[in-house]
Symmetry: C2
């Protein structure tokens, strides 16, 4: 199958019938499974019944499934996927030349759809299963706005109502995101808001707060559980989301296998972990089964360093403490990250799956500062012709760093990274960067301690 | 070669080695050639020498070449094309289903690059030839900002300075476009400005004007001819631009031939004519040679109806009257279109090539109003997952209209249209549309007469 003599094109496109027929569930190959979600009242693992008050039934089943390695993708979802998938795997020839590196750089580009990111991969199944269950609508939170847009698109397609709580700092930085969501018929509320009990409480406690994903989640969950016919959906963090996002990794691996390419390093930005988890999953599966080895690098903002400086502990998922508790690397649900321009990475905790893999030594993590990230973004844009989102640019930063190491050592490593999305709605950030007004935020140990103090003292 | 039994995928991607090796020059197959550009002083056809004061030498040769049907694309340009081409030809299955039409709808999507449009196809060769000639930089105008962005990208890649005069109304409606251009190192000035003689004169004559492409062209040309080492480049209208844009049509035809698809109707939006001219060129060539027949429809805004309500006459290309004169359908160089949201279509004249073809009866034209255009845009976005630019949505409007006619008659026509770009920077317009604040502008006969009065009284 592998054919090393074949000239590798700039962009590898699979054909439509190569869209994966199944998602790959990396949990099936993990010896140490991710710890279960806990009911914060009883401290017992959440049952399917309990979870079904918040999530759709099929998604609950996927959330709890640690056994099945392959979960078939329903035809209706594959049909929607055909609208924008398979996404291209790009050989960054121009970047390699610019850097004068012997490294081979590849990126899987998920930005060629209106949501502008990989988020649509999970929005489609989540809307599909909600519709299948006969629900009226769904609620959610959004950071940078990409998840909200993706969900709006999916809901519009399947005919569901969609209520989006958007982190206030992003709502203000990205006024036009709201209009894209409205184009798809969604209603968008800046969070924290006075439309929920938890929102009002947070506003009272932290007047003038710019919000966080943690706050927005609390509001969206409250609205879902208090309105009949509604459920809550989430764009990252959860096991089900990483499962859906495995479509990225499975396509990537299929494309690479076709050309006999084996990556040495696989890099992804990590906020809640959906993109990174999706990209690495089939490769991680090989590593877990002892079939192949790869170096995995999670890249997070220095302003919100859950893997590199957080605690591995049971914690709340949201600021309002209305959600189940999850065991993962966390900065504490009370930690409100500085208002950096990577809204999609401003979340205090990491996916339980990735946290476990990191804890068990299967993956590395690096924290990078936003000015360095924008330098990489601009360098990339100028040669590769894609304007990257700030979130995605975290991965670009480390990919360039690794390629420059290869230049020093002369190693011809193959580097793969996830280019999750485009930055068309991030021009306020680019403007600040151009004008030299961008600053870096690195929390002090004291800042972090405040967040850690809110982590409940339980150990199971 | 044709294979009608093959299931047509949602997206047809050609491989990289199917990127055209030559541009197709439709002029070679035209019996009535487009009229030459005239020197406004002597009223004689502009010589290559005269044109070379304004344009790069290789581009002048292409501008004047009415003979060669195929002009090879230099390898350096093909390498850049590989960064974002071949672009997908999409079968609009979801739109067809939504409309319940028996028509088959296809669109060639040119928006998957950072310029967000087809404009990059001509920016790349124009920057390449400028560099090849050893120039320092280029100047240009931009309407919606897509051409300016495309040129910035190309100049950054080839290492050229880039000065962009941006029509003021677009500059204000699309503040973030400027930042994208800055990301690529360009300088951007709202037009009319006080940085040129012609800009100052226009500001004096029409205080408070929101500008037009015609004004911005005058300013950019003035700067080019008064700065050594600079030339002017243009994103539409010119013969050379239509030549470069033929890459769209040649790819489309190659993809359709592969699957044995023959379009009955080919539709494109038309401002200066670059996208439409590029898309239709190889099909028009067949029609001109009597090998096949197609229905071609140019779609223009009702607010700027150069084909449907203009005069076929020699006229100035710019408001400041500094450019050569061209014979084409025109509203008069003094006509300043209403500030609609399709900035890329706000130009008083049409390409000479398309004007001649229209005049000779090879092509039809329709004028549509912007509220109807945004209705089509939203309908399209909701089912096809792409947020279209207002300009492109003119073509969507007519494609939907034609598909609905098929629904009435039961005809199974094949409709092809050009989806030139994305609307990520047009959210101010979408917002107005959502809020019911969008109005239509249709010039009265009196309004048009004012423009016509400025057309010089010559007939050659």
């Amino acid at each position: 199958m592998a054919n090393n003599n074949q000239k590798i094109p700039y962009k590898i496109y699979l054909s439509e019938n190569e869209i994966p027929a199944s998602w790959y569930n990396v949990r099936a190959d993990m010896k140490n499974k991710p710890a279960p979600l806990l009911n914060p009242g009883t401290l017992q693992p959440m049952t399917a019944e309990e979870l079904s008050a918040v999530f759709c039934e099929d998604l609950v089943a996927q959330e709890l499934d640690n056994e099945h390695a392959y979960i078939p993708i329903p035809q209706e979802i594959r049909d929607f996927y055909k609208m924008y998938r398979p996404s291209p795997l790009v050989r960054a020839y121009c970047l390699e030349e610019k850097l004068q590196t012997p490294a081979h750089i590849y990126y899987k580009f998920e930005g060629n759809n209106t949501s502008g990111s990989h988020k649509l991969n999970s929005a489609v199944p989540q809307a599909y299963y909600a519709k299948k269950q006969g629900l009226k609508g769904v609620t959610t939170e959004t950071g940078a706005g990409q998840w909200g847009t993706a969900l709006s698109m999916a809901c519009s397609y399947f005919g569901l109502d969609c209520k989006v709580y958007m982190v206030k700092v992003s709502y203000e930085q990205k006024p036009f995101r709201r209009e894209v969501m409205r184009t798809y018929g969604a209603s968008v509320v800046p969070s924290p808001s006075d439309t929920t009990n938890v929102g009002r409480k947070i506003l009272e406690q932290f007047p003038g707060t710019t919000g966080s994903l943690g706050c927005a989640i609390s509001e969206a969950v409250e609205v879902a559980v208090s309105n009949p016919g509604y459920r809550y959906v989430l764009g990252s963090v959860l096991n089900q989301v990483l499962l859906h996002q495995s479509v990225i990794g499975v396509e990537t691996k299929t494309a690479m296998d076709k050309y006999g390419i084996k990556p040495d390093i696989i890099i992804g930005c990590a906020g809640g972990g959906s993109n990174l988890g999706g990209l690495i999953s089939p490769f991680m599966g090989q590593k877990l089964r002892g079939e192949a080895d790869y170096q995995f690098i999670a890249v997070e903002p220095a302003s919100c360093p859950s893997l590199t400086r957080g605690k591995f502990a049971y914690d709340f998922c949201d600021t309002g403490l209305v959600c189940p508790m999850a065991k993962r690397y966390t900065l504490g649900s009370g930690f409100i990250p500085a208002p950096t321009h990577a809204g999609g990475l401003r979340y205090h905790g990491m996916s339980s799956i990735l946290s476990q893999l990191y804890h068990d030594g299967y993956m590395e993590a690096r924290a990078v500062e936003q000015t360095k990230v924008f330098e990489a973004a601009e360098q990339f844009a100028r040669v590769e012709g894609i304007l990257p989102a700030p979130e995605s640019s975290h991965a670009i930063r480390v990919a360039i760093d690794e390629a420059m190491k290869c230049k020093e050592t002369g190693e011809e490593k193959t580097i793969l990274f996830g280019l999750t999305g485009t930055g068309y709605f991030d021009m306020v950030a680019y403007e600040k960067f151009h004008d030299g007004l961008m600053t870096d935020y690195i929390p002090t140990d004291e800042d972090l301690q405040k967040g850690f103090d809110g982590i409940p003292k339980i150990d199971l």
